[in-house]
Amino acid sequence: MIGTYWLPKHRGICMMRYMKLHISQAFPSTLSKAVDVGLVMAVIFGLTLKPSYAYLDPNTGSYMIQMAIAGAFAGLFAIKSFWTQIKTFINAKLRSRQKKS
């Protein structure tokens, strides 16, 4: 299912396998569910094709892990931003009610 979004199927699956490997090395089992959710988001917020030129070597390992986790954090960021909007809306409503009263 993951691979059916707007990126090549094999790339999403590779990313999932890649992350699983590193998570099992760096953090034994307990957060695996949360990480699975993160991985889904990682792939959902996915990837497109473009060449890259830079004077700094991004480091292959850094490059790969960044691609994988950035999507997960994008999901969290989206939730956080949404929650902030809700809070702002509620606070504004409460303030206007207080003013009226």
């Binding site: 390992g61 892990i65 960021f77």
Partner: protein, 465 residues
Amino acid sequence: MSSALITPDTASFRDPSGHIFRLNHIIYRQVNLSYKQNYDLLLSSGLYQALIDARLLVAHSEVKLKEISDVAAYTIIKPDQLPIISYPYEWSFSQLQDAALATLQIQKIALDYGMGLKDASAYNIQFVDGRPTLIDTLSFEAYEQRPWVAYNQFCQHFLGPLALMSLVDVRLNRLLREYIDGVPLDLVARLLPGKARLKPSLLAHIFLHASSQLKHAKPQPGKKVDKTLTMSRRSLDGLIDSLHSGVSGLSFSIPKTEWADYYAANNNYLDKAMKAKHKMVFDYAKAMKPKVVWDLGGNTGQFSRLFSDKGITTVCWDIDPVAVEMNYQLVKKNNEKYLWPALQDFTNPSPALGWNHQERLSLSERGPVDVVLALALVHHMAIANNVPLEKVATFMHSLTKKGLVIEFIPKQDSQVQLLLSSRQDIFDTYTKEGFEAAFRPYFTINESKLIPGTKRWLYRMSTHR
């Protein structure tokens, strides 16, 4: 570039976008034609002005120099000149943390203007008017939907060292002195306690990151990593936000150290004597009309502020990370513009580091400065560290152009007695006469006075040149 008066900066050679040079003691930056589009975009997009308004980027003006005839040059800029350069291994926890947060803030603003940071070196940040400020105007490039090229550098320069300082020991910032391009993440991961994995940002940006780097450390023949993959803006925003949470979620609570409560609990001055010492120190230094003062072993900056409060650029060096931290908190609280708190161990001062020993300047290469204060310091060098007084004098001479305000504390003083209590007294020449004899070859002793209510002597000396 034409010769004679122009000195290329020895640390500015990695980025082909341009380089720094000095001409008649003024610092300039050459912007190369290869960076033209990005430089123009920085100005035309409004990003430059936004960062100047936020006081996050050093301001510059474009200049024409007849001495420059480099065909690769697009333009020459003259940035606001910095009175002092300090390095990340000389910063306290909060200084490094604020520098990290400033870097992320700059990246966020840059993205809003269609650009991004192409590097995230801690050495690109300097404290200007007490605030962390980006000094590399050529750090920006047009944003294309790619992963952050400086992600690894940010983690190695900022997040990793901060995590170690916060969760293991604040003195681990010294690792930045050993690892000039930031602390390797596999080392950070090995040194951090297990509980660090419970912080999602550290789990991701340190542990998983280090694991990924180890896996890809050796290129596998025939297997090419696809570096053409790109990343959405939303993902990059999430990454930056996560790094921000990771950095701001780390803290350092001030413990009691040998020096942090020195003035409150552990000195030989009554209020009246301290006031008298303040006046004597200020009058002695003022006689030399300093524009820049270095206060060696200045603790939390009590004497430094005699000068910085009057608009004199003052660096307060101290060995104790807690004292430097407390000093920096005061600088922030009072919006002080002229005081630079910085870490320095004078028995092992910052060396010249990096390529050809020239990328990061040693302490003495950043001097000499107009006036050096050495208050209640000599006994630590001479007795606690067995440095002969002649060598102390030579060292002080290398740091000051005009002169020295220096305190001599004799053996009869209780603080020196304390140093001698656990060891044999092998310091026969540690007397007032021995002290003066050691300094006379390098300085003229202009005046000296007994500090009221103490056994301590204060000297004003002018440098032999």
